[in-house]
């Protein structure tokens, strides 16, 4: 479905989408990055002393071309898009939830080194399931089911190694089980 949106629909369709603001933000960020080009693409910045090539091999050429393209195209696209009234309260609500999910994912990854693979997935899946609006029995079944599936796919199926969590240093559980969890 996403592909339909990507390929068929105009970015400036009938629904207010915030496209103009997004392109404006891209324009500003690209402009800032372009102003930093001298500092961020210094030849030999990693200690290499012998230089090779001419102007075409200068490290600044490719980013400069890419950023210039972004700036010009984003500016033209933002200017040529129709004025739109964006529901900022709605946008804050949607992006707020998205940021909430993103934050819980970061916390879950950090917890992997403390609680281990399975418990971190369980906590993350529970948070997302809750934020997705599931309640009651499904709030328990979905995270547990997802965690079991992840353990089966990654730990049993692909046998992917994960760092030994601190939890297993504190509590004594069989090595085989540690390998799964």
């Amino acid at each position: 479905m996403g592909e339909v949106n990507e390929k068929n629909a105009s970015p400036f369709g009938s629904e207010p989408t915030g496209g103009r603001y997004l392109l404006g933000a891209i324009f500003v960020i690209a402009l800032i990055l372009l102003t930093l080009i001298g500092d961020q693409t210094t030849p030999g910045s990693t200690g290499q002393t012998e230089m090779s090539g001419g102007w075409w091999a200068e490290p600044a050429v490719a980013p400069a071309v890419a950023l210039t393209l972004t700036i010009v195209a984003a500016a033209l696209a933002a200017v040529s898009s129709r004025w739109e009234k964006v529901d900022f309260r709605g946008a804050v609500s949607v992006y707020g939830r998205a940021f909430g999910v993103a934050g819980s994912m970061i916390v879950a990854v950090m917890l992997m080194k403390v609680l281990g693979f399975a418990l971190s997935i369980l906590i993350f899946a529970f948070c997302v399931t809750f934020m997705a609006g599931f309640r009651g029995v499904r709030l328990a079944i979905i995270p547990i089911g997802t965690t079991i599936a992840m353990v089966l796919i990654f730990r049993v199926g692909f046998a992917i190694w994960f760092p030994r969590p601190m939890l297993f240093k504190w509590i004594d559980i069989p090595i085989k089980l540690q390998g799964l969890l």
């Binding site: 479905m1 996403g2 592909e3 339909v4 949106n5 990507e6 390929k7 068929n8 629909a9 105009s10 970015p11 369709g13 915030g18 496209g19 997004l22 392109l23 891209i26 930093l36 961020q40 693409t41 210094t42 030999g44 910045s45 990693t46 290499q48 090779s52 090539g53 075409w56 091999a57 490290p59 980013p63 071309v65 890419a66 393209l69 972004t70 700036i71 010009v72 195209a73 984003a74 696209a77 040529s80 129709r82 949607v94 992006y95 998205a98 999910v101 993103a102 994912m105 970061i106 990854v109 693979f117 997302v128 997705a132 609006g133 979905i142 997802t146 990654f154 692909f158 992917i160 994960f162």
Partner: protein
């Protein structure tokens, strides 16, 4: 050809290849049949797994997802009027009315048979066309290949009609991101802001997982799609379509031709192929008034064209090393990881890989049809899975997929960043594909242009003195001028 086929069959004498063939086909059908996911998400999620495989196994797995996804996408398009993937939209026009008329088996069977014909036809074209094109590409210089990469990017951008300027901006973003990290000519750290973790550049896997999978998961999380579960009961009599399609040979061949033609061209792909196939089938039909109301030619045209595209899209990738859209761009990373250079040398140095790929693509179409004939009733029910549940599963997969690569939190943070960016872009209907293409093709283009301009001693007239480069340059200029003119016209028309 016979030698290649025999070599290919030899490659299939391995249990691993059969496992990825079956897994790719099955997963592709399943992901295609679930509206809102599609093969793009599947390819992004499985990309890290394929890096650990042999190139043939990895590419076969991804091609299975790509090709089978379009087959599977027809199921919800016909049964519940919701295309499983974007490219099955036209199948709903005639598939759903036919199903509503009490003939869902006939509609599905026609879709499977047409897809099968389109797939097989395109594999044969791939076998015939890729090698000569690769042989010709031996005579291309770095400048020509760099210009070909630029042409591919411009074609992709201008294919996003009505969004060309935004697409150019996204292409620029992708190209810029591809320059981040250590570059070798001058030993410079570009835009790393003095951090060590950015020296290796933005991890491709994290970016792809973020842009394709995580952003889609965010979208699914806020979805309120309503599903009618009563319409997913299908019985197993699905062979009739394989006989019925034979009554429409012209529609089949024309649609397959459109699929192959559009598949080879970068940026065009399934959408334009099925549009041309459908409109041509309608204008050539004796009963055009039946189109949109359950015409079998409508289903045949749409599905044949769709499924002819994936193998055809491999032609420029294998022969020139230039992907034409996001899926083959992701596949190119598998080649890069394994140090296999697609292009002229691939056909000389890795004959077994190429032959194995041809035969596995051929076999894959039989496997997919076999799975569908047996399991359609079960697969059709997948379309009723709650979108928000899918979001939970995809998010967990992304989290593990990004972290397990290097056990670095930064990889996950990058995926989350691009997931949020992709989510915002999706909501704004700004295309993501040019960004991925810029990211994958950027380093390739930079390398070719550095080599080419360097060999000419910095003389830029090399772009117009090389005939091939000149032709590409003229096409690029025409495309850019036309798309800018169209954008200006729209702007002035809109006041």
């Amino acid at each position: 050809m016979l030698e290649t086929t025999l070599l290919g069959i030899q490659q299939l004498a391995s249990i691993e290849i059969w496992i990825v063939l079956v897994a790719g086909s099955l997963l592709g059908i399943i992901l295609g049949a679930i509206p809102g996911i599609g093969p793009g998400v599947g390819i992004a999620l499985l990309l890290p797994v394929t890096y650990a495989m042999e190139p043939l196994q990895g590419i076969t797995l991804l091609m299975g997802l790509y090709a089978a996804g379009w087959y599977g996408g027809a199921i919800p398009a016909i049964t519940i009027n919701t295309p499983g993937t974007g490219v099955n939209v036209l199948t709903t026009y005639d598939g759903y009315p036919m199903a509503k008329d009490g003939q869902p088996q006939r509609a599905l069977s026609l879709a499977y048979a047409s897809s099968f014909f389109g797939g097989i036809f395109a594999v044969i074209v791939l076998m015939v066309a890729a090698w000569p094109l690769a042989a010709l590409s031996k005579y291309l210089t770095s400048v020509d290949l760099g210009m070909a990469a630029l042409l591919a990017m411009v074609l992709v951008v201008v294919a996003h009609r009505g969004a060309e300027l935004a697409s150019f901006a996204m292409l620029g973003v992708g190209l810029f991101v591809s320059t981040i990290g250590l570059e070798t000519a001058y030993g410079s750290a570009r835009y790393t802001f003095d951090t060590t973790w950015m020296m290796a550049g933005v991890p491709l896997i994290s970016m792809i997982l973020g842009l394709f999978a995580l952003s889609q998961a965010f979208s699914l999380l806020f979805s309120d799609r309503k599903i009618d579960k009563s319409k997913t009961e299908i019985d197993r009599r699905l062979l009739g379509g394989f006989i019925e399609v034979c009554r429409y040979p012209k529609v089949l061949l024309r649609s397959a031709g459109f699929g192959v033609g559009m598949g080879v061209l970068p940026g065009v792909g399934e959408f334009l192929a099925q549009f041309f196939a459908y409109t041509t089938a309608r204008s050539g039909s004796k009963t055009p008034e039946r189109f949109g109301k359950g015409a079998p030619e409508g289903i045949i045209a749409s599905e044949t064209a769709n499924n002819a595209v994936p193998p055809a899209a491999l032609v420029p990738l294998l022969s020139l090393g230039i992907p034409g859209e996001a899926f083959t761009a992701m596949m190119l990373t598998v080649f890069i990881v394994h140090g296999v250079d697609p292009g002229p040398t691939l056909f000389a140095d890795h004959k077994d890989f190429v032959a194995g790929l041809y035969v596995s693509l051929f076999v894959m179409n039989f496997l997919i049809v076999g799975i569908l004939l047996v399991g359609t009733n079960w697969i059709a029910k997948l379309a009723t899975i709650n979108d928000r549940l899918l979001a939970v599963i995809i998010m967990c997969l992304v989290m593990v997929g990004t972290f397990s690569r290097n056990y670095r939190l930064t990889d996950t943070i990058i995926a989350i960043f691009f997931g949020l960016v992709g989510f915002a872009l999706r909501r704004a209907n700004i295309p993501l594909v040019p960004m991925i293409l810029g990211l994958v093709l950027g380093p390739i283009m930079e390398r070719y242009f550095r080599q080419g301009i360097g060999a000419a001693g910095g003389d830029l007239t090399i772009f117009v003195t090389r005939p091939v480069s000149l032709v590409f340059l003229v096409i690029i200029c025409l495309l850019v001028v036309t798309s800018v003119r169209n954008a200006v016209r729209r702007l002035t028309a809109g006041g």
